[in-house]
């Protein structure tokens, strides 16, 4: 049984942020919510829904979904992973696009599912699974008004998004640079200062069960990442993967470092909410005078 | 009981992967525009130095790693630099241990990495190049190739028993990554390009 969303949530007013309808309204889009977002960080799922709806995407949440199988695959439990892959195929087969709220889950589906469950159906569904920021950029969202987020932000590059999905160019590779969609989106947000890190794509040390089994090395890796962000005076650390954020936020909290760890969806939602709040103050629905704030927001590059 | 060779070939045959195509011809990148600067930089990275001089009077013009007149032992296979001391009198290659300077000529230099291709005329020459404190190599300035691909085209699959690429002096960074020149072999290496 599939769930369908209606226009709801904080960012539902399309007019306020000057959006236009997506190119292909018949596209059936499903949201894949990773198990740890579902169970531990539901706010990220809601934020992602809000952002997608704000930009005019009608998104389904098929309730029969459970887990992409990544943790089992990386633990070497391939049978368990295969069963979850099969379930994923059954649940998402019908959809034109599947938006996954995690770079590592999207990578597991795109890279590993087709090699383990080889079939044209598997290739099809896997190929239609996109990571959240990837989906947004491919559907033209980067050129729209992405709101305002006046903070110093460190982007933690998720290894699987980078090296499996090739969303961006890894620092090891010598090729013309392909911009990472998360970076692209962040660069388009007004007043957001994206900081430079000394090691732009070193691993945070989560790695699934690795974080538990090799706890000492895992934590040292994460603490080194945090030191890099501190050196750059980041106030916020963002990523397209919540597991990286669990690692970094977990270490930061215990060590007493002050960071906000935000999934990209949460950051975007807050950024958009900032401009909506402002425009609500000034926006008079009865007036024909559009007003400066409204004009500013209609510019597609989001600048004033 | 099978011998090792037979057994190994049997194992290799049993484990043979599917055949894959022999890779096609490779087109190597061209000579960089600033070939001399590139050569100088790469050689300098390797701890060596480059000098360019006229063939007619190079021995008087170049900066020597050590004043030739002041040293006792020189091995040279280059016209214009004479052998001295053990360079003349060595009975065995081991006698070259106290060699101060070795001067050789090499076939060509490789611009992308600063190396020269050298075929020692004799085992003695190879030993001299390794045991001398200072090594100097002379190459015709017209004999530059862009990359190793071009180098191997020139070298072919020749029958010589020994040849080497030499780039800079002997060195090591095995102690805390600190570069030290003169690990076991020469402490300095000078490349002299001769123009007509």
């Amino acid at each position: 049984m599939l769930g369908r969303t209606r226009r709801s949530g904080l960012l539902s007013n399309r007019i306020l942020v000057g959006q236009r309808a997506p190119e292909s309204p018949e596209m059936r889009i499903a949201l894949f919510v990773p198990c740890y977002i579902d169970q531990l960080k539901p706010a990220i799922g809601l934020a992602a829904l809000d952002v997608l709806e704000t930009f005019g995407f009608e998104v389904d949440f098929p309730e029969a979904q459970t887990c992409c199988g990544q943790a089992f695959l990386t633990a070497g439990e391939t049978r368990a992973a295969d069963r979850l892959f099969d379930r994923y195929l059954d649940v998402f087969d019908d959809f034109d696009q599947i938006v996954a709220l995690s770079g590592s889950c999207a990578a597991t589906i795109r890279r590993h599912l087709p090699s383990r469950r080889a079939s044209s159906r598997a290739e099809g569904v896997a190929g239609r699974t996109l990571e959240f920021s990837e989906f947004l950029v491919e559907n033209g969202v980067a050129t729209r008004n992405l709101g305002r987020f006046p903070h110093r932000v460190g982007l933690h590059s998720n290894c699987h998004a980078l090296r499996e999905l090739r969303l961006g160019t890894a620092s090891e590779i010598r090729e013309p640079e392909r911009m990472d969609p998360a970076r692209r989106l962040l660069s388009s947000i007004r007043e957001l200062q994206l900081v430079d890190l000394t090691r732009p794509d070193e691993c945070c040390g989560f790695g699934g069960i690795f974080s538990i089994e090799e706890e000492a090395v895992s934590c040292r890796m994460g603490l080194d990442r945090l030191a890099d962000h501190r050196l750059a005076n980041a106030e916020v650390i963002t990523s397209t993967d919540v597991s990286c954020l669990f690692q970094l936020a977990g270490l930061a909290d215990k060590a007493g470092f002050e960071f906000r760890a935000m999934h990209l969806a949460e950051l975007l939602a807050e950024s958009l909410a900032n401009v909506i709040r402002e425009s609500s103050r000034e926006f008079d629905p009865s007036s024909r005078d559009v007003g400066a704030s409204q004009e500013g927001m209609d510019r597609t590059d989001g600048s004033r | 009981m099978t011998d090792a060779r037979t057994e190994i070939f049997r194992r290799l045959e049993a484990a043979r992967p599917p055949a894959s195509a022999r890779p096609a011809q490779w087109s190597a990148p061209p000579m960089p525009i600033d070939e001399m600067a590139t050569l100088r930089d790469r050689l300098s990275d390797a701890g060596g130095s480059l000098q360019i001089a006229q063939r007619e009077d190079w021995t008087e013009r170049i900066v020597w790693p050590v004043p030739v007149s002041g040293i006792a032992h020189v091995y040279s296979s280059v016209a214009g630099v004479s052998n001295k001391g053990v360079g003349i009198s060595a009975l065995t290659d081991h006698d070259l241990e106290c060699l101060d300077l070795c001067v050789l000529s090499a076939d060509f230099a490789v611009v992308e990495n600063g190396a020269v291709w050298h075929r020692p005329k004799s085992p003695r020459e190879r030993a001299a190049a390794l045991l001398a404190t200072h090594l100097m190599i002379v190459v015709d300035a017209a004999e530059l190739v862009p990359t190793l691909h071009h180098a191997y085209s020139r070298i072919g699959s020749e029958a010589a028993s020994f040849g080497w690429f030499l780039c800079g002096p002997s060195k090591t960074a095995d102690i805390e990554q600190a570069l030290v020149l003169g690990a076991h072999g020469p402490c300095t290496m000078s490349l002299i390009l001769l123009r007509d």
Partner: protein
């Protein structure tokens, strides 16, 4: 004690770990700068991978061609099924000639075979002449890196070592001074050596010759003077043609140390002409698990390895745990594939000493998909029974539950219910590997799907 415990010990010294990590990262950045200057870098990697793939499909033919050409050039070719046979062949060659003093340049293969202890037991002195190898030899330990054997040591420690073992003044720590001390000692060894042992970086089928690369020139000093040169080579180190060397040599030094080329790239073919005595050249070709790896489609690409060490330098785990924590001759990502293939029971932990970041695969000059191989190994090892039964059972149960929406929801709900009601200390203790240095995320009251269902219900009511 496996990688987990040794790594924990290593990491406990936070300063030293930082120093080790930065030293190796520095080498990684040098590799990056060198690759910047090669316009066709990625094409070169692909090309190298193709040549190796072709060669691995032709090993019997290539080795026949090599052997024929090598013999024609005057070399003697020996074959060793395993490390022990390799050691016996070399010991016999030395003993037949009454040789007692041998110098050896760096060869990970001879480390793998345990050659030095074998020869020493036969009364033959073996001196490792690569400075890093000499240092670890004097300390009676194994190399911690395949290219920089003593990267784990600080200069002061080396100064102490030389004072103890070579009688140099105590308290020295200047690398130039220390190198000069080693130079004097090793010069003497080179001049008195009766045989030189080397590895082989590339064996060339077309010529029957081979290439040995060093920065120090120790492979050359070790073979230019003595009358016997013995070169050890693994079955996987053969390339078809001389021209192929260009591809690998353009990649090797840049990947290893960030140099465009090593100081010495020596091409041997047959023994040295008499000077004045004739020289012998013996080549020992070694299997020791390589043909076995060749027969494993998921892992055979690892045989393409040219031993550059780039994967070690970039690996965030290696940098923070050090080579000795792997308990294997070759550590790091490539070691975790090769060693686990050779001896899965001993090294079952190694493929898990990895966060699967994939950086290793991206720096590998021959494009071995290292992190995918490590992942594949995890499945193999679990199936072969090298994984703890309790862990397998637990994951199996959770996996079974997760495959059913109702099971998944139940597990999630009960987990959150318990977690919210347990006293913090109890909860932290329960999941203690996580909570030792990390806070737990706040456990929400409702899952996303529950909140989503409520939202939908609220919309429907409107």
């Amino acid at each position: 004690m496996g990688h987990v415990d040794r790594a924990r010990e290593f990491v406990a010294d936070a300063d030293r770990t930082g120093w080790h990590d930065r030293a190796l990262w520095f080498v990684r950045t040098k590799r990056d700068r060198a690759a910047d200057l090669v316009p066709d870098w990625e094409a070169l990697r692909e090309r190298a991978s193709e040549i190796k793939r072709f060669a691995l499909g032709q090993l019997p033919e290539l080795w026949c061609e090599f052997e024929e050409n090598a013999i024609r050039a005057g070399a003697v070719v020996h074959w060793a099924r395993d490390g022990h046979e390799h050691n016996e062949i070399i010991a016999r060659l030395l003993q037949e000639r009454r040789i007692e003093r041998v110098v050896k340049s760096k060869s990970m293969l001879t480390e793998e075979c345990g050659l030095n202890p074998h020869l020493e037991a036969c009364g033959i002195e073996v001196v490792d002449t690569d400075l890093g190898e000499r240092i670890v030899q004097l300390r009676n330990e194994s190399p911690s890196h395949i290219v920089m054997p003593a990267i784990h040591l600080r200069r002061g420690e080396i100064g102490e070592l030389f004072a103890e073992k070579m009688g140099s003044p105590p308290g020295l720590d200047d690398p130039t001074e220390l190198t000069a001390i080693a130079r004097r000692d090793l010069r003497d060894r080179f001049l008195r050596a009766q045989a030189g042992l080397t590895g082989i970086n590339f064996a060339v089928a077309e010529t029957g010759g081979f290439v040995v690369v060093t920065n120090e020139g120790n492979a050359d000093l070790g073979t230019a003077l003595p009358k016997l040169h013995i070169a050890s080579v693994g079955l996987e180190k053969i390339i078809p043609r001389q021209a192929d060397l260009a591809v690998f040599l353009r990649l090797l030094a840049r990947s290893a140390t960030g140099q465009a080329i090593t100081a010495y790239t020596s091409h041997f073919r047959g023994p040295r002409p008499p000077s004045p005595d004739p020289q012998e050249l013996h080549i020992v070709v070694v299997d020791n698990g390589r043909s076995h790896l060749l027969g494993r489609p998921a892992f055979r690409e690892a045989l393409a390895c040219i031993r550059c060490g780039a994967c070690l330098n970039t690996c965030p785990v290696y940098r923070r745990s050090g080579g000795h924590s792997y308990g294997a001759t070759v550590p790091g990502p490539i070691g975790s594939v090769l060693e686990t293939s050779r001896d899965p029971a001993t090294h079952a932990e190694l493929p898990h000493a990895c966060s699967l970041c994939g950086s290793c695969s991206d720096v590998c000059p021959v494009r071995i998909p290292l992190h995918h191989q490590l992942l594949a190994f995890r499945g193999e090892l679990a199936r072969a029974g090298h994984q703890r039964r309790s862990r397998r059972a637990a994951l199996g149960l959770i996996g079974w539950l997760f495959a059913r929406p109702s099971g998944y929801r139940w597990l999630g709900r009960s987990g959150r219910f318990l977690a919210r009601r347990l006293p913090t200390a109890r909860l932290n203790a329960l999941v203690s590997p996580w909570t030792r240095q990390r806070a737990l995320p706040e456990i929400p009251e409702a899952s996303f799907r529950e909140l989503y269902a409520r939202r939908r219900a609220a919309e429907n009511d409107r």
